[in-house]
Amino acid sequence: MSGDILLISLAGVLTAAAPVIFAVIGETISERAGIINLSMNGTILLAAMGSFTVALATKSLILGFLAGALIGGFVAAIVAFASVTLRQSQVAVGFVLAVLCRDLSYFLGNPVMGEAGPRLSSSPIPLAASIPILGPLLFRQDVMTYLSILLIPLAWVFVFRTRPGLVLRGIGEKPSAAYVRGANIGRLRYRYAVIGGAIAGLAGPIYSLSVKAGWKGTISGLDGIGWIVLAVTIFGGWNPVRAAFGAYLFSLLQWLGLVLQPAMPGVPAQVLQVAPFPLMILTLLLVNVGNAEWVERSLARLPEPTRRWLSKLLRAMNATPPAALGTPFEDGE
């Protein structure tokens, strides 16, 4: 494979990762506040269909993207309402929404299925685009890919370096402690669930208006990505940078599936298409294996230096979830 093709392919991986990055960072923000938005799979599909329809009808890409964010925010608001106001299980509501939104998108998307709609074109950055290697890799992308790359440090700085980010971590970790420090837990959880949902909702239009432009109903190839997003959020240890790394890994695996197909004619195409999903889950398991007590027990038999090194590595990879994730908060009446 020549260098140019490799570069273009890797640039394609960056593009393909953009929607996953938006979705995992949105989910990370929501989960940092203590709200699991399990509807992600349905949200992405519904946002993809909805934004495509809007863009088709209005001929406006901007309105299309806006529609995606709105749909994502709206679905997240339902999860927040059930969890914060009704104090019901986020898991049950989120799961039902995941299925409902998916089927809704297939049903409502029928009229626009297969239509040719607007598509986001790439906007090379003048001068930077002609830098060798970096130019074709980074600077001949579309706006959303640039934004996805920018979003990673922005989200990290917000969560770990700003005052509201500190409170955000606080309300997901120990809402009672944040509450006695004057935070309005209910309002903040609503806010971050909706903001996170809106950011994740953008994943939909990035697919239907750019990466996999168009709406093709059940064969759009978007079903399942939302579940991977949830897994990557965990794999990312609720840290935007690590989560983005997971998103890139997933896109790379998907791309490998595509390029390996001609090289391995004996393997059915479906295997390579599906392989990224189990591979992703396997990675996840490996990353979090240090949590298990039996691992500690087995490690105890290894020679001392190896054991210390290994257990240190496992501990560093381990991520602890926000302690209050998924639990409703009740203040003192």
């Binding site: 005052r163 500190l166 970790e173 402690a177 944040a178 509450y179 006695v180 420090r181 302690a323």
Partner: protein, 497 residues
């Protein structure tokens, strides 16, 4: 600030937690709030700090009615509360925890905060590193952090709910010195406790609560007998120290080394005999908890062996230990010992040996009523476990223990409990000892260690002393050992007691 509470009342379900409590606290003083567990002290303080809303009553600050509907309102009025379980963020750095909740712009002034942090720490003589992690601190240090934070956000009223629970003796002395200096600087301090000696030592005035009512106030010099009389409405008899005869070896620990996330302990040797009580003393986080967990099969030793009744149990699971008659009662009662959400009778059903598929509700109810009566638990078979007070939860844990047991491992058996519950719990534990059960327990209360143990293991920074007979120790000598002094004698190879 002059504080006036007028006719504060609060009812939870059917329990009258506070009824018509009125109290005036003058500025620049330390007001003690004394009462046994469940007397309504915490509820009153939670109302004052905006955590809980009262059913009726008024709060006046400097003579003006204050509306306190949320902690945010309380903070605005300069009321800061140090909660019994530190309300901080274990996975954060100290500086982040310190900053969280302080008003300001988008980017916090970390450098300014770090400077304020160091100045406050220096002022009170606290040794805290702003870049360390909160979960690496002891309870006492977390308290120091929280006090500094409350001062930094500008509190002029400080409420402390049972602050001496779970902290070491030197930490307690430091805390008291800090509180005295704050009061002399004009701070109004409300000190909630069930510990007579703390209140007597520290407070300028004491209000005593019993069953949700204010039953009296006292000023120094205090008469302990009067305070106890008001707290309980009667007198409490302390048990005599009894020596138990040495029986057969129940648990033998041979050269065990253990490793936790932050601490390593090595070379522990002890033979625990039937009916014997072993106290594990040391500052929090010195390795006692890991050792106790290893005795229950929860942690696997890096080297060495555990034997139960001569049977080698090294590396076996907690389940196997349990089958051999080992019971483990963790300090976090509600998190690890009991199941929040289940009722008392459901707990009894759970801990029964399985019989049949369906729950025999009538039998379960009968069983729970018997046990509730036998263990003097204040609660109904159908009430949820989390509605019980700390003392009653601990009684519940004891009531759930099966018979017969060879070894009971207890973390902080009486932490946060009042004198009556403490005496009761130990009475029940000693009953077990008389039946041949051995007890190994952790406590940060030196008096408790000396009062109830036959022999003591002292933990200091991962080092473990040989077993010492309790009668050879005094509060002073034990306090020194816990602080890391006087260990040279052991190194010279003093014989195993």
């Amino acid at each position: 600030m002059l504080i006036e509470l007028r006719n504060i009342s609060k009812t939870f379900d059917t329990v009258q937690a506070n009824s018509g409590i009125s109290l005036v606290v003058p500025p620049a003083s330390i007001q003690g709030i004394l009462g046994e567990n469940g007397a309504g002290k915490s509820t009153l303080m939670k109302i004052f700090s905006g955590f809980t809303l009262p059913d009726s009553g008024d709060i006046l600050l400097d003579g003006e009615r204050a509306v306190i509907h949320s902690p945010a309102d309380a903070i605005r009025h300069g009321i800061g509360m140090l909660h019994q379980d530190p309300l901080d963020f274990p996975p954060m750095r100290l500086l982040d925890d310190f900053l969280l909740g302080r008003e300001g712009g988008l980017f916090p002034d970390r450098r300014g905060a770090a400077r304020a942090f160091r100045e406050l720490a220096e002022r009170f003589g606290f040794v805290l590193d702003p870049e360390a992690w909160v979960d690496s601190l002891t309870v006492g240090e977390r308290q120091q952090l929280e006090i500094m934070r409350l001062l930094w956000i500008g509190s002029h009223v400080l409420i402390l709910d049972e602050p001496t629970t779970g902290i070491s003796l030197p930490q307690k002395e430091k805390l008291f010195a800090t509180l005295k200096s704050l009061a002399s600087d004009g701070m109004t301090i409300l000190f909630v406790s069930h510990k007579l000696e703390d209140v007597e030592f520290l407070c300028d005035s004491v209000a005593i609560l019993r069953q949700g009512r204010l039953v009296g106030t006292a000023k120094p010099p205090y008469l302990t007998k009067d305070l106890v009389g008001m707290m309980f409405g009667r007198e409490i008899a302390f048990p005599e120290r009894k020596k138990s005869p040495p029986g057969a070896s129940v648990l033998s620990v041979n050269g065990v080394s253990l490793e936790g996330a932050r601490i390593r302990i090595r070379g522990v040797n002890i033979q625990v005999r039937a009916g014997e009580v072993i106290g594990l003393a040391g500052m929090e986080g010195s390795g006692q908890s890991i050792f106790l967990g290893a005795c229950a099969g929860l942690t696997r030793p890096v080297s060495g062996a555990f034997c139960l009744d001569e049977r080698d149990m090294t590396g076996r699971s907690h389940h196997d230990f349990k089958r051999e008659g080992v019971a483990y009662l963790p300090a976090a009662r509600l998190e690890r010992g009991l199941v929040p959400g289940l009722s008392l009778s459901e707990h009894f059903v759970l801990s029964e040996k399985k019989k049949g598929f369906f729950i025999d509700r009538r039998r379960a109810k009968k069983l729970s009523q018997d046990r509730i009566a036998a263990y003097n638990i204040k609660g109904e078979p159908d009430s949820p476990i989390e509605s019980l007070s700390g003392g009653n939860q601990q009684r519940m844990l004891l009531a759930l223990l099966r018979d017969p047991l060879s070894l009971v491992l207890v973390e902080h058996p009486t932490r946060g409990l009042d004198i009556e519950s403490t005496v009761y719990i130990w009475g029940k534990l000693k009953e077990r000892c008389a039946g041949g059960t051995s007890i190994v327990f952790i406590s940060s209360d030196l008096d408790e260690i000396l009062q109830y143990s036959d022999r003591v293991l002292v933990f200091f920074a991962g080092r473990v002393s040989p077993p010492i007979k309790a009668e050879e120790l005094s509060v002073e000598s034990l306090g020194l050992l816990i602080g890391g002094k006087g260990w040279e004698d052991f190194e010279r190879g003093e014989a195993d007691a």
